[in-house]
Symmetry: C2
Subunit: 205 residues, 2 copies
Amino acid sequence: MTDKDLKTEEKILEAAANEFLQKGKSGARMQEIANNAGINKALLHYYYRSKDKLFESVFTVVIKKLLLSKVNKIIEEEKDAIGLVRRFVATYIDIINKNPMIPFFVLEEITKNPGRLTNSMLNSGLPINKVFNLINDSAKQGVIREIEPQQLIINILSMSIFPVIGRNMFQPILFNDNKKAFDQFLESRKTEVADFIIRSIQPDK
Amino acid sequence: MTDKDLKTEEKILEAAANEFLQKGKSGARMQEIANNAGINKALLHYYYRSKDKLFESVFTVVIKKLLLSKVNKIIEEEKDAIGLVRRFVATYIDIINKNPMIPFFVLEEITKNPGRLTNSMLNSGLPINKVFNLINDSAKQGVIREIEPQQLIINILSMSIFPVIGRNMFQPILFNDNKKAFDQFLESRKTEVADFIIRSIQPDK
DNA sequence: CCCTAAATTAACCAAATGGTTAAACCATTA
DNA sequence: TAATGGTTTAACCATTTGGTTAATTTAGGG
């Protein structure tokens, strides 16, 4: 019982995640989720009462399980600004490459439904203050130049996330729609982006 | 007749743009568009046969009218890599700030419906080759360091576009949900981003 | 082996939604 | 002013869609 319970609930969540990630909240169809989970549609409502509730579950799982975990660890561990940039960029691009739908999915929901964040995600306690302090301290010690932490952080995130989100835009325009070339490009960015950033935050001599 | 024709068609297109920009293709409702245009729903189908056709019109207008025009001009005019970066970033961030919904709107459609690009947009003849050449030539002349044009271009676009797209994510997390502070932040990026980039592409001495 | 409670399904339902139709309206012009 | 053709509307329609209900199946414990 317990065994099959979990299996069914898990199957639903997985199918729902696929559907929501692919088509977004309003584009997703409960029937489709049921089909892909290999169950009757009524069972969806048996486990998760409504589409909204189901979405909520998927959203939480997707965010917590696939994004916040590794990131937090890196921030906690790394005490060196330059090293943090290197490790963060490499890890983050890697995570996103392996789950290319997630950033857009999260972005869509947060864009169309602001106020999502303040609750679950902000409480997830991502150690943003640590990053602020590290950037400021590193500047004071002359390891990097002075720079507003927000500017640096958003630059890093932008260059890590946006290329993947905008893949279907960039690949045709900048790579003749060559999938392999674009995959290589993304792979190379794990170090390229870090180098690009580090060059820019080198202290003025 | 002709006068009122255009007025109605225009009203529809405007209302449709608002609805599609706000809720996306699948979230948009024909009834809502009709309401906001102040007309009967049947009129929508009289002028634009279906939701798809209407969306198509909106999409084309939005892209051509609001994005490609100014950008092309800058690229055509500017012959200096550093100057191009400065002007492009300032202009682009400005355009996007004034139309913050557009990037996400375009992104959503292109993501969920790839193959959109190859037709209308790629034929719009944006002078991407000019940019490639300028970057390569500038590197050869020692004005900037060697860098893959794609890396540089995508870095520029990422840092210009993503902060606006991700506003509802960044504003709460990095700015205590202070709208004014974030507006100032975006404004300052018109020069900050250019500086950040230029520092990074300075030739190795 | 039977009883009970949870799991699962088939058949429905009501609301929403994109789309259609036939009639009314309005402006132009012959 | 009456005919004409484009414009606009009210009323419908068929389908889709999220959700419900009542009945059936399944599994485990006594």
